[in-house]
Symmetry: C2
Subunit: 709 residues, 2 copies
């Protein structure tokens, strides 16, 4: 649908139908539709309500009575799963509409993904769905799993255990691998959605539905492309304050980006807007598919840490060293055990055990030692969370250790506890047990630390959000610009520097002080007013290359010199182009000192105007040291935008230089962001350079260009 957001309740029949019809159900166990029926009828995970296989040639399949046609299926039936050749879907969908079906999962492929003919088919089925007020999932998706209803419309072998994690995927094929993996690891899902071509239900609809699902605590998402940009941003903003959302998106390094006309355009890769959206709206972008689920596990099972100090409790020094090393990458630090807690630990651990940094109980650590040490450590005021490490030894019992840890964890839920049990065979029971008691289990220290990092990222974002909400912000009000609208109406594409600067001045961006003098007296007067040094330039529609005839004079440093310059420019112009119409002579304050930065805007086709920041000279361009946020920005966003750029340190006044006017820079960024957001005709825009003067002296746009589309 083309609206920003659709009614989330209209998706309910996908998850809680009263009855399910499978149209195209086959008796052949080699067919996918047979697999769908198997899942719907499964003893443990099957749908508890009525299931109607629709097949005119069969009486029953898997012991379930068949109906020749959807019209013959008895009440109640509000969900249909269609697995038919693509050419037959439209007719069958129409029959569903007539029968009163409210939601249809179309598993069949052969639609938009195959080209023109398929596109037409997809358009047609959407038309039918709209006509009958039906919602469609797919086509070319494998549908829905809800482990609480329970319901499984997919043909994938096996159903994940019940859990708090929802998985939304734009790739149906990926779901098979993921489900097999989570079953093997004992990781629980609340829902899984494969939304296929998204003819009707888009990623936004699905995300907003998961936001409302009380059984979903963490949302994981595999995305290939975003169909509804504004809707997606709205969904992130709705979800992130309530639930963690972890996303992996492909196309991160896609080449073949269209050539663009501005600096910003060329520098914003296709992934920049998505990455900016995640940062601004609190989604966690995962580094890999595995780390997405690893992080989700921690977020779903454990409380958020209040700080970044992670204690290590281990029976092996090596893996603890590996874990400690990995912490820096995720902004975590190895906790230093409080001296009192150290004394408590020493009272029952071996004399050679380490208690200060990693608490290393040595190879022989017993289940009891793990248990007592964890409960002692969780009381340590200098520790924000614990990573328990275990390496299988001849004499320990990993699964027993999990039971013992669970007991301690049940007695508190203040600080997160994660576990790294190295190995495979010896620890597989421990993994299943751990996940059953909500202890996130990892095979390698690095993965465990990365997952703790996801908790900490989430905690930091929430802290920042609440600080941000508490601060009463005065942000520039976004207003459509009459100048832009007019330029757009008159089909201008590229606005020149003067026009662009003049427009930016209307939104509060400082530009160099400048006045037009019509006499030498006036020039003297203006010069005294705007301050020195000054550049003076002929204003004449008849003289294109003003420098060539000497009609530009720079570095004027006194009022008297300004008077002389006026006369000189007039004289030179009269001599070189006697017939020139002279409208005046511009006197402009020259900017001395300051640090050059580049501000840019590029409208991402999906997610809207993207603001770029970088330092001028070689930093932004040659070193690609730039950052991005979506417009409009908050003050916190603008500050982060600046802080993310490595060379922004130069603004702080390195080596005795005075610090720059960062507050003026922030205000310029905010104004630019509001402006870009309020004027959709702008496709790209650069302020290059914006000269950021020392603190208190402002930031001045020396040159700018605006491109319209």
């Amino acid at each position: 649908m083309n609206t920003l957001v659709t009614d989330s309740a209209s998706l309910d029949p996908f998850f809680h139908p009263s009855g399910v019809a499978v149209i195209g159900a086959s008796r052949d166990s080699g067919k996918l539709s047979y697999g769908v029926l198997q899942n719907l009828l499964d003893k443990e995970h099957g749908f508890p309500g009525p299931v109607y296989p629709i097949n005119p040639k069969a009486d029953e399949i898997l012991g379930c009575k068949c109906y020749p046609h959807i019209s013959a299926a008895p009440d109640p039936v509000d969900l249909a799963v269609l697995i038919l050749p693509a050419g037959m879907i439209a007719e069958s969908l129409e029959d569903c509409g007539k029968r009163g079906v409210k939601a249809a999962v179309i598993i069949s492929g052969g639609f938009r993904e195959i080209g023109k003919e398929g596109e037409e088919r997809e358009r047609r089925i959407l038309e039918i769905a709209r006509a009958y007020h039906m919602r469609l999932m797919g086509p070319n998706g494998i549908g829905v799993i809800d482990t609480n209803t329970p319901l499984n419309t997919t043909f994938i072998l096996g159903t994940p255990p019940r859990g708090d994690i929802a998985f939304l995927s734009q790739s149906g094929a990926l779901c098979g691998g993921v489900i097999d993996w989570v079953i093997g690891r004992g990781i629980g899902f609340s829902r899984m959605l494969s939304i296929g071509n998204e003819a009707d239900v888009t990623e936004t609809d699905a995300l907003l539905n998961l936001a409302e699902d009380p059984n979903t605590k963490v949302i994981t998402t595999y995305l290939e492309d975003i169909k509804n940009g504004p809707g997606f941003l709205y969904a992130l903003q709705t979800i992130a304050p309530r639930k963690p959302i972890v996303i992996i998106k492909t196309g991160r390094t896609a080449s073949g980006q269209a050539a663009t006309a501005s600096h910003t355009g060329a520098m914003a890769g296709t992934h920049a807007a998505f990455r900016a959206a995640c940062k601004q709206f609190g989604a966690i972008e995962a580094a890999s598919v595995e780390s997405m689920f690893n992080g989700a596990l921690a977020l779903s099972y454990q409380p958020l840490p209040k700080g970044k100090r992670v204690a290590l409790l281990t029976n092996a020094g090596g893996p603890a060293a590996v874990a400690a090393d990995a912490m820096e990458t995720y902004g975590l630090t190895l906790a230093k055990t409080n001296p009192h807690i150290q004394s408590e630990l020493k009272a029952f651990l071996l004399p050679d055990a380490q208690t200060a940094g990693p608490v290393d109980m040595l190879g022989g650590a017993s289940t009891e030692e793990y248990k007592t040490a964890l409960s002692v450590l969780l009381r340590d005021p200098d520790i924000d969370g614990v990573l328990v490490i275990l390496v299988p030894q001849a004499l320990n019992h990993p699964a027993e250790v999990v039971d013992a840890l669970a007991e301690v964890m049940n007695a508190q839920n203040e600080k997160p506890v994660l576990a790294c049990f190295m190995g495979e065979t010896s620890v597989s029971e421990a993994f299943q047990k751990g996940h059953a008691v909500k202890l996130p289990m990892y095979r390698f220290p690095e993965a465990a630390v990365e997952s703790f990092g996801a908790l900490w990222r989430r905690a930091q974002w929430l802290q920042k959000q609440s600080a941000h909400l508490a601060a009463a912000e005065s942000l520039p009000i976004a207003q459509p610009s009459a100048h832009i609208a007019e330029a757009h109406r008159s089909d201008q594409i590229a606005l020149d520097s003067e026009t662009s600067l003049a427009i930016l001045q209307t939104i509060g961006v400082a530009i160099p002080a400048s006045h037009i003098a019509h006499s030498a007296d006036e020039a003297e007067h203006i010069a005294a007013k705007i301050g020195f040094p000054i550049a003076m330039k002929l204003m004449s529609p008849d003289v294109l290359h003003k420098s060539d005839i000497g009609a530009v004079i720079i570095n004027i440093r006194s009022a008297e010199a300004a008077r002389q310059a006026f006369d000189e420019i007039m004289e030179r112009t009269r001599r070189a182009v006697p017939a020139a119409k002279i409208t005046g002579i511009q006197a402009q304050r020259m900017i001395v000192g300051g640090i050059e930065v580049i501000l840019g805007v590029k409208r991402d086709p999906t997610l809207g105007p993207l603001i770029m920041f970088g330092l001028g000279g070689v930093y932004a361009e040659a070193l690609a040291d730039v950052s991005f946020r979506l417009a409009p920005l908050t003050r916190a966003d603008a500050e982060e935008l600046i802080g993310e750029v490595r060379s922004a340190k130069l603004l702080n006044g390195l080596r005795g230089a005075s610090p720059s006017d960062i507050s003026a820079l922030v205000n310029t960024i905010l104004a630019l962001g509001s402006f870009a957001a309020a004027n959709p005709q702008i496709s790209e825009m650069d302020i290059n350079p914006l000269i950021v003067l020392p603190e208190g002296q402002g930031a001045i746009a020396a040159d700018a260009r605006i491109l319209l589309a």
Copy 2:
């Protein structure tokens, strides 16, 4: 031992003993020594020669006859495994020596790792070992596994299957987790070594031994610290041309680095020297423990690619998109299938299958399709290797697919083939089968691509090496400097700018042209010779702050001006400090233009002199945009050193600037490297800045300092 390298053959009894005694063997199945005996006597993986438990209180253990004392053990016995309280080790070791044992594994802890008392114990056992020409492994290590002998002196449950990968670990505890994991994954090991405290056998000895082991194709290593730096570097240089070596080292982010006096000192983290060593000498530094083994798997099982073009063969689009995305990070590219090959593929794949980029056979892909498609793809001249992706579907058989792929792989061994089979339960048989036929199997696309990246890194390093060997290089000859030796003898610590520059000039580093004038005539003459602009400065031991009295004049642009400047400086000095002894006036060519870079040296306590390179101004310091290599460097090393720095692009002549004299920069780096290597008294050194002039004009050291230790 303190020699660079010990005789590798002296380690043979650790791997191929003729008879093994276990001293401290217990009847108690809860003791570690019982575990050792179990492993030695295991039916499948046990030692085929005689095993003698030494225990005065038992007649037999595990059906094996016991002896009361090592002296009573019959011939042959050349390896002893000692598990006794630390205080009893020395005496027992002495008995071993008397009995003619050649090698001893000391599993017991309680040595250097516990402090003073332990250190003394460790010193004592080393003395004993030396006296009897015994080699020691440990103490505080778990010893050795050799799957070919076979032999397992550890107490770890289970022995890895036979394979081509050796694992050397400075953490015994880690071995337990790793072995359990590799057994679970069906990954084979040739040897495993846990070298503990390295009282005798160090990581260098062990690495060089693995280099000689014909059953080891790939060496993996977990290191915490390097005991013998020069030995370690020698080992890398010996091994890397012959076998891949993959290393994970902790301490990457260790804080608490000692404060140092130079820029370079402050900027070279503790890990910089190790990382430089890996780059220079061809070791692959792994990002994590898991990726070390993942990479080793690919290196051990598959040939190296000739190029970076990786084809994807898949039954699912999503994981292929994830894989394609990951390639850029590792310098790989998604292969574009050759048009002829595409036609061949189209002939048997479904009409909707994709053949151009990722070859997507769609969800229903059969075993036969995988097989045929792989064999067709391997013939594609535009493809350097294939990553086969499979997601479990209702109708495919992952293990069967592995069999089919293996058939194709057996018919070629030109191009590497890796596999990503997503999931857990449904693919576990496929994993075991895959590893048995040397097809490296991964669960997630990112891990598979990372491992392909390890192959490509190795291939590139070997290509570079052979190119490098082919190029007849003229490198500066390393010579001890008489100046340095003299300064060191006279206890100078910090050499001043003038002295440092003068010393650098002796090794061919250009410094600003400069002469001493003693008369105005001479000043005029010198000025004409060295070129303009010139700075002139009083030379007088009696005037410290020369600028203050006007005895420094810069920007002199003519010979006549030089004459005047001479007179002026003389005059000012006579006026300000009438009694000053004047030794002359220095005329120095001022350097105009060029790009400032910093070259530095810091002597790493373990690995020797580390050369740093970065751009001047803010780049090196504020932006930490620097790179490192160990000295002495080859020309290729110096070029890489420069190329690794992001801001080095500025040297290429950005935005119309003329390109810099990189060849002069390289020569300066080479000279500095040789100099640092040949003069061990130098602890730190900076050339800051070195001004790199436009091409053909050289590079000039404007300031320098040398610190001695």
